[in-house]
């Protein structure tokens, strides 16, 4: 056995498995996206089995782009949800990481409390938030708002200040089950879950910051803001890029949260739209799937350019 054979042999199973996992289903999707293929059709029973004779060319793509009213909405919503989560988690993550990056009593416990949401399974996360916290009647949202309303109603009977409070309208709790608001609910719950991840990464990175450089800056009379601006921010550029990249990978395929929060109310992202098509129109589902792959690749190429080069160091 030559020196090169053994290492190659050791890598082979992993490479073959991943190659099959990537190529087989994806090439099937590609094939289905070019044929007419539905699961139920009384009028055209021949369309219910995948066959080359049902070739449709780019017909499915055209259908998805021009006729399926939800496609652009789903793309827009995917981008909206992902970018909102990214912005919120990066800002919150930076703020919290700075806050915890100093020693104080109980810091270990604070860290444990902060990181916990990350380990919640997505299904539990969604059920917990949409039912017990955000529900406008039974959740804490509803209970808090009706509590405030009661207090205001009580204050109306007082002399003098009563006149002021009687001008207050009754507050109506926000419902998170409508099309647009359920997207907010998804953003809230995923931000809650992923901020800890950003905190962890920024914290790890802050700890490796060069302290002597900072002290030199203090001696030179640099104020806190300019130290943050000129030393900390450049140091954090890479971790920020990594947080953005990894979260994009995960959130572009967000599914369980949308399924639980928004089933049937019209709010959807690309994976959810594909799921809807899959209940009958496989051709359209596959074409949408290819669009999703393209979108993911654009994001991936863009982000890997940003961070990929020095990832191996």
């Amino acid at each position: 056995m030559s020196k090169r054979t053994l290492p190659r042999l050791l890598q082979t199973p992993a490479v073959i498995l991943l190659l099959l996992w990537m190529l087989v289903p994806l090439s099937m999707t590609l094939y289905f996206s070019f044929i007419r293929y539905v699961l139920n059709s009384l009028r055209k029973p021949e369309w219910t089995t995948p066959a080359l004779s049902n070739w449709r060319g780019f017909g499915n793509y055209e259908y998805v782009l021009y006729n399926a009213k939800d496609f652009w909405f789903a793309v827009q919503n995917s981008v909206f949800i992902v970018s909102s989560i990214l912005i919120l988690t990066v800002i919150l993550g930076l703020a919290l990481a700075m806050l915890v990056n100093r020693s104080f009593p109980g810091r270990g416990i604070v860290r444990v409390l902060l990181i916990s949401p990350f380990f919640i399974m997505p299904a539990v996360n969604a059920v917990l938030w949409i039912n017990m916290i955000l529900d406008p009647v039974l959740g804490l949202n509803g209970i808090a708002v009706s509590g405030i309303n009661e207090i205001v109603a009580g204050l109306k009977n007082f002399p003098v200040i009563g006149a002021f409070f009687s001008m207050w309208p009754e507050i109506v709790p926000m419902s998170f089950r409508a099309t647009q608001t359920s997207a907010y609910a998804v953003i809230i719950m995923v931000t809650w879950q992923w901020t800890p991840f950003a905190v962890l990464i920024f914290m790890t990175s802050l700890q490796s910051e060069d302290e002597s450089q900072k002290e030199a800056a203090i001696l030179d009379g640099a104020n806190a803001w300019s130290r943050f601006r000129n030393l900390t921010v450049p140091h954090l550029a890479r971790p920020i890029a990594i947080v953005v990249m990894i979260q994009s990978i995960f959130h572009l395929s967000l599914y369980a949260e949308i399924e639980i929060v928004s089933r049937g109310n019209g709010n959807k992202n690309l994976p959810y739209l594909i799921g809807e098509f899959t209940s009958n129109n496989i051709g359209a589902a596959s074409a949408t799937g290819i669009f999703a792959v393209i979108l993911a690749n654009i994001v991936a190429i863009f982000l890997l350019r940003m961070v990929g080069k020095n990832m191996m160091d």
Binding site: P117, M121, I130, A256, L270, P271, G289
Partner: protein, 278 residues
Amino acid sequence: MATVSQKSKFGDVFWPIVAWIIALIFFFPIFWLIFTSFKTDADAVKPEFLFSFTPTLENYLNMTENYDYWRFAVNSVITSSFATLFALVVGVPAAYAMAFNPSRHTKDILMWMLSTKMLPAAAVLYPMTFLTKNFLGIFDTHFLVILVLCLINLPIVIWMLFTYFKEIPKEIIEASKMDGVTTWGEIKDILIPLAWGGVASTALLTFIFCWNEAYWTVRLTTTEAATLSKLIEGNRAPEGLFFGRLSAVSTAAVGPIIVLGWFCQKQLVRGLTFGAVK
């Protein structure tokens, strides 16, 4: 930071308090989930019992009856453990070879493996259903769930192990070769002790990812191999009627994993950033 914080006494007191408050806010939903799990379904939706109520274990005692909890839990344990095991069996040799005998393609292979992670699962949903249902007949089996969980985590496993193995100084192994240590001896006495920590934390993290996976485990199972994700997803209680029992089963589903997670915070950074942040 030390020099900075010594300057202001006010900040020394103020910022830790802010940190504590924010940490408590972040933990609050989990606390609320656990708290609600000790209320009866009727009490859980009554504002007058918001904080004062008679705690009950009823929800936990009836978990089997209400949700068949243990069947799903056992499925989760089986699929997550075996998927982790298989991912390690395939991943350890691969990462070992890449770290100790890198070729000029190693970087490309690693990058390509990472790129399989970026393939949106939904894009191949129907082919996977079609293949496993009509073609292979393994839909809704433990085998399928284990296979898929293993495959989706394999890139992360290899990346993590690679970063750990790369830190083992090659000189140690070369020196041992000079001393005439056999290959087996090299593995047993040098590699395993040095790599053990890395492999263990990779396993822990992979197990957590498998346990929490919520796309394939939901879409590729019906009853036989359904995991806890599927159980919760199927009982989302849109009318809020079963807050008590739903909280109990959710707590039971996430509790063990949160505790496991506390133990591997540090590894989480490395695992999720593919070794780019340490």
